[in-house]
């Protein structure tokens, strides 16, 4: 058994969900995603038992393409994130009225498949295919099941698609170039390449175009808020919980090892990109009127910090980035679930029309509160561990980086608590508000459990990713170039 089983299961899940018809699609999707989670858990156990779980099949001799799937800790960590969030996301849609459910769930599963593939692929070509494949389902999910004025939604979604597609095409060109140099797309071969500094800079920038838009870093973020707002919440969760991690993961996996010289020479600039995102996202979030948009900007701020951490090129930065990717994945899914519950019950997205929910839905309030606290990285939550490590890595580079990055804990608390206050507290709302249903409660409970478990005991994840981080560090810093 190797990692490919997970991909096969996810793909099968997509097919089965489609075939099972509207009535059973959600259950089928949930079941298969849980099975996939189980499978990736087994794979993880095998990995921890020092067995090789990566695979590589030759796809085509000339051009030299392998279907190579990585079995290292970093990929498995991201795989676990994907397969763990997928059932939660599916679960969160229970009880919602979804038209043409079979296509909806099928697309979600397919997107899970593509994203898992992106995290696993070790061959640049296959990686790119998965990368692009992940774009198609979310396009349709956002377009067809989204909300808001039809024209606005279309505008936002098309912009999102073209924008991200544009970025990734530059990455494609970079891969084409790398292939002409290395004669292979394998990560190991590409990382071994001894490119001149100019070449590295161009390749770095080409990758950056893809990742900066996907993550997104400012000023490439303009698609984000609109799409997060318009997409159905499951789509937003996929986007914010997993998909933007694709970009961050790719920085670690592809961009830094292949073009380390460029990364080193322009480190400060790229750290500033991240930090600017932290400040900008936080500040914009302060005055957002729309709940989902606010969360989108909070996400912008968080990923900015993660990216800044990744670009510090030190061990703490990289591992902190991974930890925060995972923790942010869970937290943001929880937050969007909360937002979805509110929007579903109150039929509005405007924060000004909310408020006074707490007395009607105490359970929900507690759960939402915990998600807010996780988001502001209260110690003992998973997010704190990641944020602390990333801030330390920034501090390691320059004290000012840490201070500016650290403003996130002030501003983050400010906008999140302000939001919480305006959304949940105050005089009892006149509209009736149903407390969480069992599926929503279960989703929250799982997320909360994960948040606190890893907040107190992040060691399993740290141990899992440490060898990969070490390898990447080695590739970045040990000059040209041995593997």
């Amino acid at each position: 058994m190797d990692v490919s089983i997970v991909l096969i299961l996810l793909f099968a899940g997509a097919l089965l969900s489609f075939l099972s018809g509207d009535k059973w699609a959600s259950k089928t999707a949930l079941l298969t995603s849980v099975v996939a989670l189980g499978a990736s858990w087994l794979v993880l156990c095998k990995h921890n038992a020092k067995e090789v779980v990566g695979v590589s099949y030759l796809w085509s001799q000339k051009p030299n393409i392998h279907v190579a799937l990585s079995g290292d800790g970093l990929s498995l960590a991201m795989l676990m994130l994907t397969t763990a969030l997928l059932p939660l996301i599916i679960l969160s849609t229970f009880g919602r009225n979804i038209q043409n459910a079979k296509s909806f769930y099928s697309l979600i599963m397919f997107m899970g498949f593509a994203m898992a593939g992106t995290f696993l692929a070790l061959d640049g070509f296959v990686y790119y295919i998965f990368w692009e494949l992940a774009l198609i389902p979310i396009y349709f999910i956002a377009l067809l099941w989204g909300s808001g004025e039809h024209k606005d939604r279309q505008r936002a979604v098309v912009k999102f698609f073209i924008y991200t597609f544009a970025g990734s095409l530059f990455m494609l060109a970079a891969f084409a170039y790398l292939y002409t140099k290395a004669g292979s797309f394998m990560w190991t071969d590409l990382a071994k390449l001894d490119l001149s500094k100019t070449e590295q800079i161009w390749i770095f920038l080409a990758f950056f175009a893809a990742y900066a838009i996907k993550i997104p870093l400012i000023p490439f973020h303009t698609w984000q808020a609109a799409v997060y707002e318009k997409a159905p919440t499951a789509g937003t969760m996929l986007l914010s919980g997993i998909m933007l991690k694709m970009g961050l993961y790719s920085i670690l996996r592809w961009q830094l090892p292949i073009a380390p010289l460029a990364a080193k020479s322009f480190m400060v600039i790229f750290i500033w990109f991240g930090l600017a995102g932290v400040l900008y996202g936080s500040v914009v979030a302060l005055r957002q009127k729309n709940l989902k948009k606010l969360l989108a900007y909070s996400s912008l701020a968080h990923v900015g910090l993660i990216a800044a951490g990744a670009y510090t090129l030190n061990k703490d930065g990289l591992s902190g980035a991974v930890l925060q990717m995972i923790s942010h994945g869970f937290a943001i899914v929880g937050l969007f679930l909360a937002a979805d519950i509110i929007i579903d019950r109150l039929q509005t997205r405007e924060i000004s029309e909310m408020g006074g929910i707490r007395s009607q839905a105490p359970k929900f309030t507690s759960m939402f509160m915990i998600m807010v606290l996780a988001s502001v990285a209260l110690p003992t939550t998973f997010n704190f561990v990641g944020e602390f490590t990333v801030l330390y890595s920034l501090f390691f580079k320059k004290v000012w980086f840490a201070i500016i990055g650290g403003l996130t804990i002030i501003l983050g608390a400010y906008y999140m608590l302000k939001m919480f206050q305006n959304v949940m507290l105050g005089e009892t709302n006149k509209k009736p508000f149903r407390d969480v249903s069992w599926s929503e409660g279960l989703t929250f409970s799982i997320i909360i459990a994960v948040t606190f478990f890893f907040g107190l005991y992040p060691k399993p994840i740290n141990d899992l990713i440490a060898p990969s981080i070490h390898q990447i560090m080695f590739l970045i810093h040990s000059g040209p170039r041995l593997l």
Binding site: L286, R287, I410, P458
Partner: protein
């Protein structure tokens, strides 16, 4: 064995929290309250056990629960350290905590969400225990942020009132500003010493210093000074010092037991605890110590002046707390850690008592907090009055009550170190005496100024409320004994933690007695003025709109909140609005612009394709000519 007890110590309040969250509502009318009280009481018992033990053995107990996480070269353990300092804190946290829980059972008995209230209180105790007992800075930080969270939850406990929620939010954010300082401080220490354990940092510093040459040593020490300063910023946030103190008066929005427990006795002293914990660091940084002393002194006088004119009974107490905390920091800045600790303890007793007393008054008046509408309450509430009086005397520094001893120690230290600071501290003390007795007179003497309705319902509070008052009043009265001048049990007790002090104890000479006399006289003057003004003349503070001049400025707290609003909140909100409305649109428009331009070119291009065969042929030939002539020009053909 230790591990079990320590887990019991820590987890009892946590269990109380969890049980109350899930089952509190079903636990009968007062079930939640008693459960919570019991949970804290267990912690108190364990603490007492260890406290007695350490008095005998003088060896701290250290337990590693599990490895938390690691960064850089630092590995952080979930480690618990029970030494003299932490046990001292634990004693009054759990002790006063138990009393206040008990008090709350009655105080909150008709609130529909009391189970939540007790859950939060338990959670607070849990985090406070963690803050105090952690054996490294990060575990302290968990508690540090955790108590901040509980403070937030409890200030905004009556969540239907958005003003209260604002206050809660403000407290959390102000604290977070300090927490950033704390974080940076931790980073610097971790970077320089590769550890965050209190036990190892001093050794690591010493080791590093021994390796370095003279100029690098200076650099190293200045880096440590920055760390100390950053940590002090953290302490400013938590302990409400200038410039981060404004949240504490607002925090009075919470239920009164919360104000007593969190915003007077325990949480706000966390900053003092931290500085004392890290005393070796501050000792290395005299400049930072100066800053601390000055900040403390200024805070004490500023808060005291504001306290002079407040009309809300809890606001007066809040500013008094800020002022007293300032005095403690003054002591810290002067390196007299044990003095600060002493004042923390006595302050905890009398301030808790004062708050609970005010709670009792407010309870009796059904939520009325404005002193202008009180008066003559001693008739109806004798126990409250007497305990209140004892505590007021204590805080005013009238011997033989506890406050006299601790405050006097501070002033004495200041006198020896810096006369200016001494004068400031003394003036603040006089003011304290004044406003405390102003409060006392306005509340308990003269005629009742409230409505008939209220008057009708006036009654002494039930035993559950008065019992804690009595206990605390007794402690406030006799608490000074623990550090009786000349024979200080406290100083000996703390010696293993704080090391041999160069200050030592003040041996009592003429100067000292003179200073004591001055302090007592000062206190009496303050009381005297209050007596003349409010009892003799029977003045009642004017209504809000009638205030003028300095009075008005003071009443409006020097307009500090407005200034912050203007300097920070408004600009950042304006920036946010600008980003949201202008920059976002512009950026978005820029991206759309590409599409728009391309589309526009497409539209123009369509005009080229006008359907005329002649034109098509013309372009055909032109293209042909262009290609051929280009090739000719390049001499290819």
């Amino acid at each position: 064995m230790d591990q079990t007890y320590i887990l019991l110590l820590l987890l009892a309040p946590l269990a109380g929290f969890i049980l109350n969250v899930f089952f509190g509502k079903k636990a009968g009318h007062n079930g939640a309250g008693y459960l919570a009280t019991f949970a804290v009481f267990i912690s108190f018992c364990v603490t007492l056990m260890y406290f007695l033990q350490i008095n005998k053995t003088a060896t701290p107990v250290q337990v590693n629960l599990f490895e938390w996480f690691s960064f850089g070269k630092v590995t952080v353990n979930m480690g618990i350290l029970l030494d003299q300092l932490s046990l001292l804190w634990l004693m009054f946290v759990t002790g006063i905590g138990t009393l206040i829980h008990l008090y709350s059972v009655s105080y909150m008995h008709d609130d529909e969400n009391r189970h939540k209230f007790f859950a939060y209180l338990n959670l607070f105790i849990f985090f406070m225990l963690l803050l105090v007992t952690g054996d490294n800075l990060l575990v302290m930080f968990i508690g540090w942020e955790g108590v901040g969270l509980c403070s937030y939850l409890l200030i905004g406990f009556w969540y239907k009132n958005q003003d209260y929620n604002d206050a809660a939010k403000k407290a959390f954010i102000m604290n977070r500003i300090g927490d950033l300082g704390f974080l940076i401080g931790m980073f610097i220490i971790a970077y320089l010493t590769k550890t965050l354990d209190y036990a190892q940092i001093p050794d690591a510093i010493k080791f590093k210093l021994s390796l370095l040459q003279e100029p690098q040593q200076m650099k190293f020490i200045s880096a440590l000074s920055i760390a100390a300063l950053a940590l002090f910023i953290g302490a400013c946030g938590k302990s409400a010092q200038i410039p981060l103190y404004t949240w504490l008066p607002d925090a009075m929005a919470g239920p009164t037991p919360v104000s007593a427990l969190i915003h007077a006795a325990t949480m706000v002293t966390a900053g003092i605890f931290m500085v004392t914990r890290m005393h070796f660091l501050f000792d290395l940084a005299p400049n930072v110590q100066n800053v601390i002393a000055i900040v403390g002194a200024v805070t004490s006088i500023v808060a005291a002046t504001i306290g002079l004119v407040q009309n809300d009974i809890k606001k007066v107490l809040a500013y008094s707390t800020v002022s007293q905390l300032g005095l403690m920091f003054l002591a810290l800045g002067l390196g007299a850690y044990e003095v600060a600790v002493f004042h923390v303890i006595t302050h905890a007793f009398f301030k808790a008592c004062l708050f609970l007393g005010s709670g009792s008054v407010i309870h009796a008046l059904h939520g009325e907090q404005d002193m202008r509408k009180m008066g003559a309450l001693k008739k109806w509430m004798p126990i409250t009055y007497i305990t209140f009086l004892i505590s007021s005397l204590a805080i005013s520094g009238i011997p033989p009550f506890s406050g006299f001893f601790s405050k006097d120690e501070i002033l004495m230290t200041a006198f020896h170190e810096n006369k200016v600071l001494y004068v400031i501290g003394s003036v603040a003390s006089i003011m304290t005496a004044f406003y405390m007795f102003r409060l006392l007179y306005l509340t308990f003497f003269k005629d009742f100024r409230g409505t008939e309705e209220q008057k009708h319902h006036l009654h002494e509070s039930p035993a559950l409320i008065t019992f804690p008052l009595i206990v605390l009043a007794i402690l406030a009265a006799i608490g000074g004994l623990i550090s009786f001048p000349g024979a200080s049990w406290l100083n000996q007790y703390l010696a293993p933690v704080l090391g041999a002090k160069e200050h030592g104890e003040h041996h009592l000479g003429t100067t000292e007695y003179a200073l004591m006399a001055v302090a007592v006289i000062g206190g009496l003057i303050g009381i005297g003025i209050a007596y003349a003004k409010y009892l003799k003349k029977g003045e009642v503070p004017p209504a809000d709109e009638e205030m003028t001049g300095l009075h008005k400025v003071l009443y409006h707290k020097y307009y500090i909140d407005e200034a912050y609003e203007f300097l920070f909140v408004k600009p950042i909100n304006a920036l946010s609005t600008f980003f949201r409305d202008t920059l976002e649109t512009a950026l978005s428009g820029f991206v759309y612009g590409f599409g728009k331009v391309t589309n526009a070119i497409g539209d123009q291009g369509r005009l080229l394709q006008n359907g005329s065969v002649g034109r098509y042929l013309f372009f055909f030939v032109m293209g042909m000519v262009a290609i051929v002539s280009y090739l000719f020009y390049n001499k290819i053909v």
